[in-house]
Amino acid sequence: MSVVTIERKVLEKNDEIARKNRELFARHGVFVCNVVSSPGAGKTSILERALEHLAGRLKVAVIEGDVQTDLDAQRVARYHVPAVQIVTAGGCHLEANLVRDALASLDLSQISLLIIENVGNLVCPSNYDLGEELKIVVASTTEGDDKPLKYPAMFRNASVLIINKIDLLPYIPCDITKLRANALQINPSLQVFETSCTTGSGIPAFCDWLVSRCSTLAGR
C-alpha cells in the first residue's frame, strides 16, 4: 500500500485568485467590501440607501451575486453607478474567479469603493475569500437575536455588523441588546451599525464610515 503526501489546502485555487484580486484592488486604491447575510436581510436595500447618500461623495461600483436574475443589478444601476450582475445559476456563494471575471466590466481606476453583494447565505460565503478588504454581515431584527450564535463562523470572519430593520423593533420579539451582545460575544472587534432602510436611520453613519475608510486607503 503506498501513500502519497499532498498537504494542500482544498481551496488553494480560490485563495490564489483572491490574492490576485486583492493585489489589483490595492494597485488601484479601491476599498472593497464583501456584503453577506441570509436572504432577505436587506443587503440590496441598504446598498440603495447608501448609494443615495454617497452620490457626489464617493465613486462607487457594485458587483451583485444572485442565484438567478439581474434584478438586483437593475435596482442598483438606477443610482447611476456601474453595476455588474453575477448569476451563479444555483451556486450558493461567490468565488474569487467569478469576481475576477466580473472585474473585466469595471474600470477600477475610476472608482474608490467596490461593494460586492454576495449570494444570500450565512454559511458558504464564509469559506471563499474574494480578495475583499473586509466582510460586512447584515442581520435583520426579524431574523431573531440568536442569529450570531447559529452562524458563528460568518460573524467571526466579518469586521462590520449592520443590524437592519430596526424600525420593526416595536412590533417583534427581537431584543436588539441581546442581538448585539451575541454578535460581540462571537467577535468583540465587530463595528456595529443599526439601520432602517424605511426611515433611513443609521444610513448616514454607515456612509460616513465608508467615506472615512476610503480616504484612509487613499492616504496609504
Binding site: 501513500v3 502519497v4 499532498i6 494542500r8 482544498v10 444601476a77 455588474v84 471563499y128 462571537i186 468583540p188
Partner: protein, 132 residues
C-alpha cells in the same frame, strides 16, 4: 441597466459540491495516471469552523465520483476542534464556537490557532499489481 455575466455551468450548486470538485482536481494531480483510478482513500483535515458539513461533503464526493475513475475512493476526514490562544493568560485551549471566551480565565480577546483547516493531507493508493 447593469451588465449580466452568467457564471460557468460547472459552478457548484452547493459549496460542499464545489469543495468535493476541488478535492478531486487536486487528487488527480497527485496520482501517476492522473485519473484517480488507483486511489483507495483520500485523507482530509476539516476544522470545526471551516464551514463544511462533513455529511454533505461525503455525499457530494460519492455523487460526483460515480462513473469516474475515482468511484469507490473513500474520504477519511479528521475533524479539528476550534482552538485559540488567549490574549490575557497566553494559554491555548479548545474554544466553544458559540462562546468565544478563554475557558481558563474568561478573556474574550482570542487568536484562533486551529479549527479553520480544510486540507488534503494524503492519499492512499492500491498496489499497482493488485487493483480492486
Amino acid at each position: 441597466m447593469g451588465t449580466t455575466r452568467d457564471s460557468a455551468q460547472e459552478n457548484a450548486r452547493m459549496h460542499e459540491l464545489s469543495i468535493a470538485q476541488s478535492i478531486i482536481e487536486i487528487v488527480n494531480e497527485h496520482v501517476p495516471t492522473g485519473d484517480g483510478a488507483s486511489v483507495k482513500t483520500v485523507r482530509l483535515t476539516v476544522g470545526q469552523m471551516a464551514g463544511v458539513v462533513v455529511d454533505s461533503l461525503e455525499f457530494c464526493f460519492v455523487a460526483i465520483t460515480q462513473g469516474t475513475p475515482l468511484e469507490g475512493a473513500r474520504l477519511e476526514i479528521s475533524s479539528i476542534p476550534l482552538r485559540a490562544r488567549c490574549a490575557s493568560c497566553g494559554k491555548e485551549s479548545e474554544i466553544e464556537p458559540t462562546l468565544f471566551a478563554c475557558p481558563l480565565c474568561g478573556e474574550r480577546e482570542l487568536t484562533i490557532t486551529g479549527g479553520r483547516e480544510l486540507q488534503i493531507n494524503e492519499i492512499e493508493l492500491y498496489d499497482a499489481e493488485a487493483p480492486a
